[in-house]
């Protein structure tokens, strides 16, 4: 197991190198000029060229690449071309809102979706099953911003229970954090509940038809134990995969939800950086996201051994 973990962690290095080279070249081949964003509409071509030179954008590509890799090896991601702020500081400011919302969304989704999926499978082809499936289809189909606006209209504007927008860190007070995080989490959870419930139902249906479930029932094991201990554990591998991938997607940025609820997360940071061609920020975010995907996949793979002892690395 330890050897497997070390091999997987070492495998991150070539992945990150390929991502770094690819992203660097792709961005430089995309039309766009950060100097034009900095200088504004009135700048003359000569002024733009002077700004490009001061930012190092006039250097040959290989020189720019070596400078950036040098910074990476020192653990730095460079400085934003537009705001002149270290990229690590910018990501540090923006990752926590995204992370906290993602964690809360996933917890909320799992708590709601897994029992929903289990019950739907258990009550297969009854109105409960159809209701869960109908909810899943709706959850997939309604655009996230529509759900967000509906929640805002009901809970913030009509009932005035919760703020319309914004983010407060848990360190500012858990109540304040919760008040602002609950609607975006519920909004995002709608999709993830639909996704996880569907996957749980499908996986459970497969397992519930197995001989050992019939044996357990024949032995008089309680139905809750049959469902949650015998069936769910065996059905857990695909469910864990979907939860892990969902978490990575949430961390990678949920731009629309961040915009609707005005959450200063990494999704908006990435989109703003792309629109401004802020190369160091885009590169930093893509590297971070790639690293995160590799890490989460590793965690998912390792979690399989917990749910299914037959899996060994």
């Amino acid at each position: 197991m330890l050897g497997y973990i070390i091999r997987r962690i070492l495998a991150v290095i070539p992945v990150m190198v390929i991502v770094a080279v690819f992203v660097f070249l792709l961005l430089r081949l995309t039309p766009g000029d950060p100097a034009a964003i900095i200088a504004g509409d009135m700048a003359t071509p000569a002024q733009l060229e002077r700004i490009r030179t001061s930012l190092g954008l006039s250097d040959p590509l290989h020189v720019q690449f070596v400078t950036w890799v040098g910074l990476l090896l020192k653990g730095e991601l460079g400085t934003s071309l537009i705001s002149n702020t270290p990229v690590t500081q910018m990501i540090g400011q923006r990752i926590w809102p995204t992370f906290n919302i993602a964690v809360m969304t996933i917890i909320l989704s799992v708590v709601i979706a897994v029992p929903m999926g289990v019950i739907a499978a258990w009550r297969h082809r009854t109105w409960v099953d159809y209701a869960v499936m109908a909810f899943s289809v709706l959850g997939f189909s309604i655009p996230v911003f529509v759900i967000g606006y509906l929640f805002i209209q009901v809970f913030s504007i009509e009932l005035r229970w919760l703020p319309v927008q914004g983010y407060a860190a848990p360190t500012d007070g858990f109540g304040k954090f919760l008040a602002r995080a609950i609607l975006p989490c519920l909004t995002l959870a709608t999709i993830y509940v639909a996704l996880i419930a569907r996957m749980t139902r499908a996986s459970m249906l497969e397992v519930l038809g197995e001989d050992y479930i019939r044996t357990a029932r024949a032995k008089g094991v309680k139905e809750t134990v049959v469902l949650f201990r015998h069936a769910l554990r065996n059905a857990a591998v695909p469910i864990m995969t979907i939860i892990g991938t969902g978490f990575a997607l949430l961390i990678g940025g949920v731009v629309v939800t961040e915009s609707v609820f005005n959450i200063p997360g990494v999704g908006r940071l990435t989109v703003d950086a792309i629109l401004a061609r802020d190369y160091p920020v885009i590169q930093g975010m893509i590297l971070l996201t790639s690293g995160l995907y590799v890490f989460i996949n590793l965690v998912i793979d390792l979690s399989y051994t917990f749910f299914d002892p037959r899996i060994r690395y």
């Binding site: 000029d33 504004g40 733009l48 002149n84 919760l162 319309v164 927008q165 008040a179 602002r180 809750t224």
Partner: protein, 541 residues
């Protein structure tokens, strides 16, 4: 089985109760949170500005949000008032009889945010850095003999030749005003952004709370000594009546509307016109226009490549365009736009509409067809660049493309994001090889209300603004304007510039529009100004 169903039913009841309970407690707790925060920060104005603040150096960029930031934390020597007249702000002045020596004297009590007094040396370094970046500043620099600090309070600016518009240029509010910074900051390169944000303005920038593109916080500068007298645009007394001003960025316009209606924010700098009916229903919010001049939307052609290297074809294109069509599509509500053929803007001292008849009366498609035929247009495609990610620039290309097609042009409209457009417009390559023929943009009227600052009126070929017209007549007229020493003479030259601009189609003015703002009724005494200012505003509890 029944027991399980009962249990599940029981569980569902609990879950429902817990969810409602959670929401209700969140509401209670969050209410308490708001109160605590408001008490701790004193009176705070939370404003949603038109864009996120990302560049903090107001000299290196012409971005409006950075200029607005500049006015929060810096002060200026001279500022124009609402009558476009320069007024003393940090300094009073005298001018020698031969109009060659301007002597500025700093007023008493001026301090930087770090406690150091503002000296003449700081002002000189700031003016020198500004004059390297600003087009008006460069013109003054061309005729400057010397600019020096005579003592701690006196700045002497000696010219080689009279520059009658010196005070107007130093006191202008856009695009790059000469903000006064400490000498240690201003003595750096004009091409590298500053990293020390010490100003002497009415607010202090709170660096620890700054999140680029997300939010910026300003605290009242307790030692700021306002000038006596009423505020008028950027001139007069800047009396700060609140403790904190917070600018937040909201990428979603609907969210900002919801937030002001629920009382979470106090002010929206620009409200999308299609969302105004929602605000009209609110008794707690006032929608108003605080800047009557607003913006001018324009089209610019590329003089370097066919077919717009031919003046007759440029004239035909201009003749095909109708301001009403463009503005009607872009803004829709006639309360917020006006047809205006003046290149210096309507409502400005130099504004004159000579030669703009076709633009302001619906266009002349038949005339354009005829002119195009006379010019021998050979169906060369017109590469028209269409930005798709800037709301205020999406309508013009579409309307113009159709108008040009109606007149017989072969239009190749190419959609792209704004960043691609600004890169491509800098390319002098032929349109078929990555160049372009025409694009559209918007200017604040104070950015184009004089031939000294309007970038489109530079006729110096490759050194001119994108489109690169080589036009000796406009250069001669600009020199004539610089030499004009009375407002009457300046206006006379301005009319000639207006006529020449539309005859040679240096650019196409497509009309003027304003942006409605929204403020909570708790805010009072906001002064009208093209730059939103946060002094003088009072906030009720």
């Amino acid at each position: 089985m029944l027991r399980i169903q009962e249990r599940l039913h029981h569980f569902k009841g609990h879950a429902r109760g817990a969810t409602l309970g959670l929401l209700a407690s969140a509401a209670l707790i969050s209410g308490a949170g708001f109160a605590t925060s408001a008490m701790a920060e004193g009176k705070t104005i939370t404003a949603v500005m038109h864009s996120g603040l990302r560049v903090l150096d107001p000299i290196i960029t012409t971005a409006h949000i950075t200029r607005n930031h500049g006015y929060m934390i810096y002060d200026v020597l001279v500022a124009v008032d609402e009558n476009f007249a320069p007024q003393p702000q940090m300094a009073d002045w005298t001018v020698s009889d031969d109009n060659l020596v301007y002597t500025f004297t700093l007023r008493d009590g001026l301090k930087f945010h770090d406690g150091a007094p503002v000296t003449a040396a700081d002002a000189v370094a700031s003016l020198q850095r500004w004059s390297k970046k600003d087009s008006g500043g460069q013109l003054i620099a061309d005729v400057t003999e010397s600019l020096e600090a005579k003592d701690d309070k006196t700045i002497v600016w000696t010219l080689k030749a009279p520059f009658p518009a010196l005070l107007d240029t130093v006191g202008k509010q856009s695009a790059v005003p000469p903000f006064i910074m400490p000498e240690r900051v201003a003595s750096g390169s004009a091409d590298e952004a500053i990293t020390d944000y010490t100003g002497s303005g009415p607010f202090v920038f709170v660096q620890d709370e700054y999140q680029p593109g997300v939010s910026v916080t300003y605290k009242k500068f307790a030692d700021y000594v306002p000038r006596e007298g009423a505020s008028s645009w950027m001139a007069g007394g800047k009396n700060v009546m609140v403790d904190t001003v917070k600018w937040v960025t909201m990428p979603d316009a609907q969210t900002a509307i919801n937030a002001i209606m629920s009382g979470e924010i106090d002010y929206i700098e620009q409200v999308q016109i299609d969302l105004l009916p929602i605000l009209a229903a609110s008794e707690d919010v006032t929608v108003e226009t605080r800047d009557d001049l607003g913006y001018q939307t324009i089209g610019r052609m590329n003089f370097k490549h066919p077919p717009f290297d031919n003046v007759k074809i440029r004239q035909a294109a201009q003749m095909a365009l109708s301001q009403e069509d463009v503005l009607g599509t872009l803004i829709g509500n006639p309360d917020y736009y006006k047809v205006c053929g003046a290149i210096f803007g309507c409502g400005t001292p130099l504004g004159d509409e000579s030669g703009s008849d076709t633009l302001t009366s619906g266009g002349d498609v038949e005339g354009a067809k005829k002119l195009l035929q006379e010019a021998g247009y050979d169906n060369t495609p017109i590469v028209l660049m269409q930005p798709t990610d800037v709301v205020s620039l999406t309508a013009q290309p579409v309307v113009a493309a159709q108008a040009l097609r109606n007149a017989g042009f072969n239009v190749d409209m190419q959609a792209m994001d704004w960043q691609t457009l600004v890169t491509r417009r800098a390319s002098q390559a032929t349109p078929s090889e990555g160049g372009w023929n025409i694009f559209f943009t918007n200017w604040m009227v104070p950015e184009i209300n004089s031939p000294l600052i309007s970038p489109m009126l530079n006729g110096r070929g490759d050194n001119a603004w994108f489109g690169w017209p080589q036009d000796d007549t406009i250069e001669a007229l600009r020199a004539e304007f610089i030499a004009a020493d009375t407002p009457e003479k300046q206006k006379e030259v301005a009319v000639k510039i207006q006529q020449h601009t539309l005859e040679s189609v240096l650019y196409v003015p497509l009309g003027q529009y304003t942006s409605p703002q929204a403020r909570s009724n708790k805010l009072t005494n906001m002064i009208p100004s093209p730059v939103p200012v946060f002094w003088n505003i009072e906030k009720a509890d």
